[in-house]
């Protein structure tokens, strides 16, 4: 059982060797590895069950080159916690009704040992059980419904955590695996939440479809699954793309967009998802039937910009999304696998540096391990920094777009020679990671490919996705009445108006969402003000970045509860 440690004031704190905050893939991996080393480990998770707060697309990769994969740490993971393996991988370049499809299996299989689709509630709750079994054996365990609300400091040095539901706890090492919008990373001043261009926003629908129908419509058997990506002009000019993955008896369909682009275009995330769901290309799979099980959203960090090179301070180490370790390799999204590697490495780093009197020795060693294992270079490719300086500047990008859009450019991309070259280029991990984050890569190029090489789709897609109101109505909430977790600091439209569009459960002219705008007349002048009701909030984190708020997660067990994720 936990020993106690007292501060100078003589106050007794509960003490554990390791405290892990968050039981997603990063936290689960860290805790499992700690337990393997015999370290007394307490895991604190704010959801009522692990997974109830989490969303991903999601394909979990086991990379050949990774220092750890999830099945290294959790036996039978694939049999018991994942959905279907991805055996077929395609990208669709869309221009209106014209679609050109490339097989991306080569890119997908590059450095891939295996890759399975997952749903986060079943996956993370399964992990929670295993982690609790393992950590119970070394004197700890997993507690759910507990939200860590800050860092405990002594003489300015981080020594533990404070919680809404528990008295403060000290630890020899604290692993912040609390995901995107990590309150601990912010408290330690290792991350800020200021720049929209450092984030993506992901939105997803889990769609009902039984196993037999999936097998039939995607032409696969029980042991197979598909991944389809979508890019081009179906999302207007918003930079990003769509995905469709097959689960055992459902489909995961969603979109991932650059947050700055969403804001610049004043796009409504749920409408962009609907543009995908209602595109004629998807009619072949829906055949007029559509039942949405769940609507979900979450921010995703862009590791190229925010992966922290020194993700530690004092006894605190950051892993996974909390440290910005979410790699968008062109259309391929890798966050869960890196969170697993980082979590396990953080635990190893603590164990090898145990006994060292310098509290930062574990953190320093962890950073070194991220570097040496090659993980950091995947997250922040050195060559990207070079490409970014020439590729991302608007002037250069616009010039490239103009050339591509010109008859000459289109011909170049459209000629039969480049047809093969294009497919090769898409399948090159090197070129894909170089695609600068301009609309060239996301919109212009795919639309030209679609236009020049595409086949026209004549199917009718008659699907009618639920309205935002219905989507909110179908979600489960345990509202913390009278205790909103987000407070608007500045209600002027200039400061917070972007949230009216960018919040995935708000929309202009929709009164049932979180953010609303309203024009008020005062002394003859007109002013547009923004108001906030957190009840329908899905805790995606968007408004922490795009609006002027005081932003926290709800207390343990409160707020939205995802069943699919």
């Amino acid at each position: 059982m936990a020993a106690s440690e007292s501060d100078q004031a003589g106050q007794e704190y509960e003490h554990y060797e390791a405290v892990v905050v968050g039981c997603g893939p990063g936290g689960a991996a860290a805790a499992a590895r700690f337990a393997d080393h015999g370290v007394e480990t307490l895991v604190l998770e704010r959801g009522t069950e692990a997974g109830s707060k989490n969303v991903s697309g999601g394909l979990i990769y086991a990379e050949d080159s990774a220092p750890y994969t999830i099945d290294d740490l959790f036996e039978n993971f694939r049999e018991e916690a994942s959905e279907r393996p991805v055996t077929d991988y395609k990208i669709h370049n869309i221009a209106g009704n014209k679609v050109k499809t490339y097989d991306l299996t080569d890119l997908h299989e590059h450095d891939t040992d295996w890759c399975d689709a997952v749903l986060r509630r079943p996956m993370d709750s399964w992990l929670e059980q295993r982690v609790h079994e393992k950590t119970s054996e070394t004197g700890g365990g997993v507690l759910t419904d507990v939200r860590v609300n800050g860092l405990l400091r002594e003489n300015g040095e981080i020594v533990g955590v404070t919680c809404d539901e528990l008295d403060p706890i000290t630890a020899d090492v604290i692993v912040a695996a609390d995901g995107v919008n990590s309150e601990l990373a912010r408290d330690a001043r290792l991350m800020d939440w200021d720049e929209p261009d450092e984030w993506f926003q992901g939105v997803k629908a889990t769609v009902e479809m039984d196993g037999e129908t999936i097998a039939d419509r995607f032409e696969i058997d029980d042991e197979e699954g598909v991944a389809h990506l979508f890019s081009g002009d179906l999302f207007d000019d918003v930079r990003g793309g769509g995905f469709l993955y097959t689960n055992e008896d459902s489909l995961s369909i969603g979109t991932v967009f650059h947050l700055d682009s969403l804001v610049a275009e004043q796009a409504e995330p749920h409408q962009l998802l609907d543009s995908l769901l209602t595109h004629p290309l998807l009619a072949q799979w829906f055949r007029g039937e559509y039942r949405e099980r769940e609507y979900a959203a979450k921010l995703v960090p862009d590791s190229k910009k925010v992966a922290h090179k020194e993700p530690y301070r004092d006894r605190l180490v950051l892993v996974g999304d909390a440290a910005g370790q979410m790699q968008a390799q062109g259309p391929i999204i890798k966050g869960m696998n890196h969170a697993v590697s980082a979590g396990a490495l953080a635990a190893d780093a603590f164990v090898v540096s145990r006994g060292n009197s310098d509290p930062e020795s574990a953190g320093r060693r962890y950073a070194k391990m991220l570097e040496r294992s090659g993980t950091m270079d995947k997250l922040r490719p050195r060559r990207y920094d070079v490409a970014r300086t020439v590729g991302e500047r608007d002037i250069v990008a616009n010039a490239v777009d103009r050339v591509l859009e010109s008859p000459i450019g289109s011909v170049a991309v459209g000629n039969p020679l480049s047809k093969r070259a294009m497919k090769r280029a898409y399948n090159s991990p090197f070129l894909v990671s170089m695609l600068p984050d301009t609309s060239t890569g996301y919109v212009t190029l795919p639309s030209i490919i679609g236009e020049e090489h595409g086949r026209t789709i004549h199917w009718e897609n008659e699907v009618e996705p639920p309205t935002l109101e219905e989507r909110i109505g179908d979600l489960t909430y345990d509202t913390d009445v009278g205790n909103p977790h987000i407070r608007l600091q500045d209600e002027s439209f200039e400061a917070s108006g972007d949230a009216v569009y960018a919040c995935p459960v708000s929309a202009e002219d929709f009164g049932g969402g979180c953010y609303r705008s309203e024009t008020v007349k005062t002394n003859g002048s007109e002013e547009t003000l923004v108001s906030l009701d957190t009840q329908p909030c899905v805790e995606c984190g968007t408004c922490a970045i795009v609006a002027d708020t005081e932003w926290e997660h709800p207390r343990g067990g409160k707020g939205v509860e995802y069943r699919e994720g």
């Binding site: 059982m1 936990a2 307490l42 365990g141 507990v146 528990l166 008295d167």
Partner: protein, 291 residues
């Protein structure tokens, strides 16, 4: 382990008064035979207090109930909800129709037998009033018979196992409700207030709670094996002093309070429809007098 606490929780079955479960005959009397028995809702609070003690200090909790053999299900429910270690049922014909006094005498004998044959008791927990009798007397009478101090209306409690004292916050009702902090030596009896709520602010307590839950699931699945039944002979009780014969008070009859039949028709107005208030005013106008 040092500081381990031995607790006994007194619990009782009561008719399930919830809508759909409860059954009344034509005269409006409760039909006990047709109404399922559940644990007295106020006892759950007593059980929570016992559980909190076990979680914080370790030890052993026994559930004890007096009633017909069917009450075993109530003890099973008690075991599931507070992770009791075992159950004691005081049951035989001679004990039927006991009033609060005869019940207290029986419980007292059982607790004494428990002390002699099982273990010394540190704490006895009981609920605040039963849902059917509503006298609130059994607890105090039992404490009196046992010659133990009693702390009632407990809202929160903490135990100092080294000093062997119990510190409690209790609700004192009056013109203004007050919260009083009291100390009592162990062993003693605790009557939890319906407002009692357990607190677990230490991670180790929550982990213990979680472990106990797992262990109890297995135990409750085999409740019979953890149930001891004692009759009046086991308790060495003279039939003249227990059951109906030993009860100085008798409930001669229970008069149902008839519900007033509704004579008026109700008009439902949707409040959040923007015109709601206007309609309320309109509807009330004729009754308002004046113009």
């Amino acid at each position: 382990m040092e500081g381990r606490m031995r607790s006994v929780v007194l619990t009782k079955g009561v008719p399930d008064f919830s809508e759909g479960a409860v059954s009344f005959n034509e005269e409006g009397h409760l039909e006990r035979g047709k109404t399922p028995t559940v644990m007295n809702p106020n006892d759950e609070v007593a059980l929570e207090a016992a559980l909190q003690t076990k979680v914080r200090h370790g030890g052993h909790v026994s559930g004890m109930s007096m009633g017909p053999p069917g009450y075993a299900s109530v003890l099973e429910e008690a075991m599931e909800s507070v992770y009791a270690d075992d159950s004691y049922l005081l049951s035989d014909r001679e004990l039927a129709a006991s009033d609060t006094w005869a019940t207290a005498i029986t419980l007292c004998s059982a607790l004494e037998k428990y002390q002699e044959t099982v273990a010394e008791i540190d704490l006895i927990f009981a609920g605040f009033k039963t849902a059917d009798g509503e006298t609130g007397q059994t607890g105090p009478q039992t404490a009196w018979a046992l010659e133990r101090p009693i702390v009632t209306h407990v809202l929160a409690l903490d135990i100092d196992p080294d000093e062997r004292v119990l510190r409690a916050k209790r609700l004192v009702e009056g013109d203004v409700d007050e919260i009083e902090t009291v100390e009592a030596p162990l062993p003693c009896m605790v009557i939890a207030d319906p407002e009692f709520s357990p607190t677990y602010r230490k991670a180790s307590h929550r982990l213990t709670h979680k472990r106990l839950r797992g262990e109890t699931e297995e135990r409750a699945a085999d409740h019979e094996a953890h149930l001891t039944t004692w009759n009046h002979e086991d308790l060495n009780l003279d039939p003249d002093y227990i059951g109906l014969d030993g009860s100085p008070t008798i409930v001669s009859s229970v008069d149902p309070i008839p519900k007033a039949p509704s004579e008026r028709e109700a008009t439902m107005i949707e409040p959040d429809d923007g015109e709601g208030m206007e309609r309320v005013l309109e509807e009330l106008q004729p009754y308002a007098g004046g113009d």
